[in-house]
Amino acid sequence: MTKTSQWFLLLGLTVGLAAEGYAYQREQASQQRRLARISTLADQLRANNQQRAQANTATVRSIAHIVCQNYNQAAYQVILAETQQIQARTQSLLDTVNLLRRRLQTDVASTALANQLPAHFDQYIAFVQRYIPKKHYVLTPFAGERWLQPRELGELPLPAALAALAPLEAVVRRHEARALQTQAEKISSNWDGFDKIGALAVPTTETVAPGGIYQAQLFLAQAGHRDFCNLEMTANGVLLTQPNAPGMQVRFAAPARRPGQHDTVWAHWHGTIRATFFPPDTVLQLDVPYLIVQRPAR
């Protein structure tokens, strides 16, 4: 080979290498752009997943409320128990997905957990599809070519690996929503959505001394036991169980007279009302004063 040919060969190879370097740079930039696109789509999915999770929680709460409005009938309680199980199984699976997310983020060994995911999803799908009508296609993650397999998570850059978990959550939330909707359709509320409104007076005492002062609170009140179902009422910490419309009967022995005590003393009792479903987790408290009066000896 002549010297000139040698130079041309080396020059050609150098130009080729430079072209390779340029292609490498372009490819890197395009990979970064794709990674950014992946993250954007995953963010949108996560935001939607969060909204769906809130809507699903509201569905469970409304089912619980309707069951309560229907006097907790046994058949309705079965539906509520199933509903709560659907919610619990969904949460359990998503807790596993979140654990994997944290392990990926903190670089803790995640391969074993990732490899277990398909089995977890299969179990969940087998469970949840009992509650989804046949007309809906129940998509199974990791089944079929189009799903990224768990072993591939480790090969992806962290943002992409985290993004890959968002569609999994989306599928689970969608199945949960359909199952809960089916549960909600099984129970019907015969409540027409309108409560009767009326005046309601709550006197301090039902009996008043002749010429004494009568006192009462007057309310514009929405009637109906339905909103007050599953209320827990206590007096001095004791659960009240005897209904006395519109409320619960309170009965207790007034404290005995202590030596040296005045003939008339003020005392009070403490009442609490806890609403479990509606409005959720509300606790009302009140202190009710009363008089202990020693009757004159006859």
Binding site: L13, L17, E20, A160, A209, G212, P246
Partner: protein, 298 residues
């Protein structure tokens, strides 16, 4: 070894190494493309769900307005909401048509929703590239939607901006179109919620209040104290006026009337009449109730 041979070997090794890096880059890009398709499919499913929810929101708006006797101002709001929805639906249909055309250009693989040539850029340039009819139509429709959203929307509803498709491979262009649909659907949902909020008859604010009624004001030491613990769903409005036997009673800011009068001197059953008057949605309403009590010496 001569200097030429050494340089040639080094250059060849570098070229081989570069080739391998390029191959790995291609593989990684294909894997990310695969993930992007997966995210795209999940977001498309969510877009379908959001479209159903939007239809449900419009139906519920119409129902609320009908219950409020189809008032012209509310009917106008419904028409604006329907016009917005149909405009956004038309744009989403256009986006889906572009996606179909791009999918057809990319060819389908055996696996559902997988593309044979996801990295091709020419079909995107032909359909949505700068100066094409597709790009002009998309920009026009998007500008019209953005304008409508701005005129109707809440301050938080930021309409989406027009995306750029220059040099995008098909898999990324599909993702951009899906994301645009998601943004449009989200803006639409926010705007509809904003429009729906003031519809329907005004509802009085309600709150739960605990109250107690004792049988008697006093009890002897060691005797049984009897009372009722009640919970009232109280409606409060500043326009409420309350009366006891026709005489006005003070109403607190909590909407509760304080009744206080001297009981008759004669023992026996007695009663008083509670009346509540309010003006709601332009209509005067009166609620009255007779409240019995007992006058008895201690």
């Amino acid at each position: 070894m001569s200097r030429f041979a050494l340089t040639l070997t080094l250059l060849l090794l570098a070229a081989l190494g570069g080739g391998y890096v390029g191959y790995r880059q291609q593989q990684a890009q294909a894997q990310r493309g695969h993930l992007l398709q997966q995210l795209d499919n999940a977001l498309t499913a969510q877009n379908n769900e959001t479209a159903k929810q939007t239809a449900e929101t419009l139906r519920s708006m119409a129902e609320t307005i009908a219950k409020n006797r189809n008032q012209p101002a509310e009917m106008a709001v419904l028409h604006r909401a329907e016009a917005l929805s149909s405009r956004i639906q038309r744009l989403c249909d256009t986006l889906r048509t572009y996606q179909q055309l791009l999918r057809r250009a990319a060819g389908r693989e055996a696996a559902p929703n997988s593309l044979a040539q996801p990295e091709a850029t020419a079909p995107v340039a032909r359909l949505l590239g700068s100066g094409t009819r597709g790009q002009r139509a998309l920009h026009q429709q998007l500008a019209a939607c953005t304008d409508t959203l701005r005129r109707l929307g809440a301050a938080t509803a930021a309409p989406p901006a027009a995306p750029a498709f220059a040099n995008l491979p098909i898999v990324e262009a599909l993702a951009v179109l899906t994301q645009l649909e998601a943004q449009l659907r989200a803006s639409e949902a926010r705007t509809l919620r904003h429009l729906a909020r003031p519809l329907g008859a005004a509802r009085l604010p309600t709150r739960l209040v605990a109250a107690a009624t004792a049988e008697r004001a006093s009890v002897a030491p060691g005797d049984t104290y009897r009372a009722r613990l009640v919970v009232v769903k109280s409606l409060a409005t500043v326009a409420t006026r309350m009366f006891c036997n026709g005489q006005p009673v003070p109403v607190g800011p909590d909407g509760v009337g304080r009744v206080r009068f001297r009981a008759p001197a004669k023992p026996g059953p007695a009663s008083w009449t509670a009346t509540i008057r309010l003006n709601q949605n332009g209509r005067d309403t009166t609620f009255a109730v007779r409240v019995p009590y007992r006058v008895a010496p201690r």
